[in-house]
Amino acid sequence: AALLVNVSNRKHEAQNPYFRVVELTDETVDPAVWGKNFPLQYDGYRRTVDQVRTRYGGSEAVPRTPTAADPRSIVAQSRLEEDPRLKTIWEGYAFATDFREERGHAFMLEDQTFTERQHVAKQPGTCLHCHASVYVAYRKAGGGDLIAGFEKLNPLPYAEARKHVEHPIACIDCHDPKTMQLRVTRPGFLEGIRAAKAAQGIANYDVNRDATHQELRSFVCGQCHVEYYFKGPEKRLTYPWAEGLTVDSIYAYYTKAGHADWTHPRTGTRLLKAQHPEFEMWNQGIHARSGVACADCHMPYMRVGAAKISDHHVRSPLLNINRACQTCHKFGEDELRARVHVNQDRTFTLRGRAMDAVVALIEDLAAAKTAGRPDADLAAARELHRQAQFYLDFIEAENSMGFHAPGEAARILAVSIDLARQGQLALRGAAPAASAPAAPAALAPAAAPAAFAVSLSTPSAPAAPAGSPPAAGSGARP
């Protein structure tokens, strides 16, 4: 009987889990207003101010004395102080002056506004795309047209553009105010995913029209947690996916585009900086391949009374293992944490090796340059420096310390190490090794099904690896 009563009570609650007390329109930016209709989600959303550290993630609240230029009294720990090798690797670029562990969504706007990187370099309005609730601002600036507004704000000086926004990411950036359906509001992703799909032979893909619900549970995150660059004088935010999403295709894209983020002062190498490619790396992992979305782990369902809601306190799943992992993995919390650490510790060790190799190459190149050796002598080594640094940075910048795709992370670091050491050898006159291509053609197709893997029912077998043993090429073979 108890259960019965219990259930019927809940029935009541559940019939209307929330009351629409306010009308939400496509202009309602303020999350507090949305919160009136959805208090549970709003509560979680607000908790992203919490700062708790995990072995490699979360963040640490570091007190500082506010200044006029930077009123923040608390920031996250500095990654540059944690590992000074980063200063050598990024020398001459804004990141070498200030780079911190990232923290919760609540801080995104102030952290961007006040980072030292704003002072050592003139940043464009483009930056706001991923640090503020720009959806309404874009549409206003574009006279109703999202893309037009995007193009208008991008080239403005940051301070100018900053005036157009007031909130960090808000409900409206991921939800349709009428239906609460998930949706993509970011031009960068709309265009990036279209290019990526085109590379797979799918013409003019419209994510809000063509994506499945389960895909959107990751795509809303892919709006920002991706590698990017500013294209041309218009500073158009661009996701380098036209060749595909693997580090190899992204590097190929940049090579074609002839793009460089900065030139290393001591080595003279035109370098690329990778940023937070969580979406790209997740995409190469077993979880994406199994249809597991970002939200499954970072916004797991939680029960509140008779309702089951998505935990809007977006954070490290290691702070919420029970809900984030244990529905699918029936192991204890400590064991699951240990499994993550095994993958992360391994990535961390290889990352250290790769940094040593890249730093060694930098010193060798610098010495050669000071010694006045002609550019022709340095060309080969610089080419290798450029790629080794990007591959290292791709994993260094990815925020799961390898967890999202452990095997792929290790492969990328192994390639980085090889190229950096070959660079040192090139300076010593060794012929560049006729080694395997950096991009194992084999992997692209094999990994492709994962690309936006959501349907477990229709998995596709990989093509035979270009590099596989002569007699073993046939995909037909078991």
């Binding site: 259930v7 559940a14 619900h213 809601i309």
Partner: protein, 160 residues
């Protein structure tokens, strides 16, 4: 224990439905393996709700054993998850499955590990929502959220 099946319907209709569909089942099963075997292998178990009946077939025993250890053993029997709620539909599904399983079992013509068919997967998904409709009503846009993606083992976890 949660009751499903004919609950809420009047006994008279019930008997009609049952006798009517009984035929369907028996005929179905009979086609599959002949009346004698049907009885011998207790194919009639398809008509009841007793999980032990499902376990009459040794190939179902692992599931039965696992179900008894599952969070649902006290609240849901096999048919609560593997057959649609009462009415003709229930007995029809049972007739079809009864035919299929009996045939497969007798001929030994099936691959293990046994995998749920898409059709029965859909039946099960619907049953989850039947009991948990309330709690998941807030969840995204129910219908396109597959419960089994995360809760596939609530009925019985055969391995691990």
């Amino acid at each position: 224990m949660v009751h499903t099946g004919m609950s809420g319907r009047s006994g008279r209709i019930r008997i009609l439905v049952v006798t009517g569909v009984m035929g369907a089942v028996i005929i179905g099963a009979a086609i599959g393996l002949g009346l004698y075997t049907f009885v011998y292998a207790r194919g009639a178990s398809y008509l009841g709700n007793d999980p032990a009946a499902c376990a009459n077939c040794h190939v179902m025993r692992e599931h039965y054993a696992a179900w008894r250890k599952s969070s649902h053993h006290a609240v849901a029997v096999c048919n609560d998850c593997h057959a649609p709620p009462g009415g003709l539909a229930k007995y029809w599904v049972k007739a079809v499955n009864g035919y299929h399983h009996s045939y497969a079992f007798t001929t030994g013509d099936f691959v293990e590990p046994i995998r749920i068919t898409p059709r029965n997967r859909a039946v099960t998904e619907a049953q989850c929502r039947r009991c948990h409709g309330d709690i998941v009503s807030t969840m995204g846009h129910a219908g396109d959220v597959a419960c089994l993606r995360c809760h596939g083992s609530v009925g019985h976890r055969v391995r691990e």
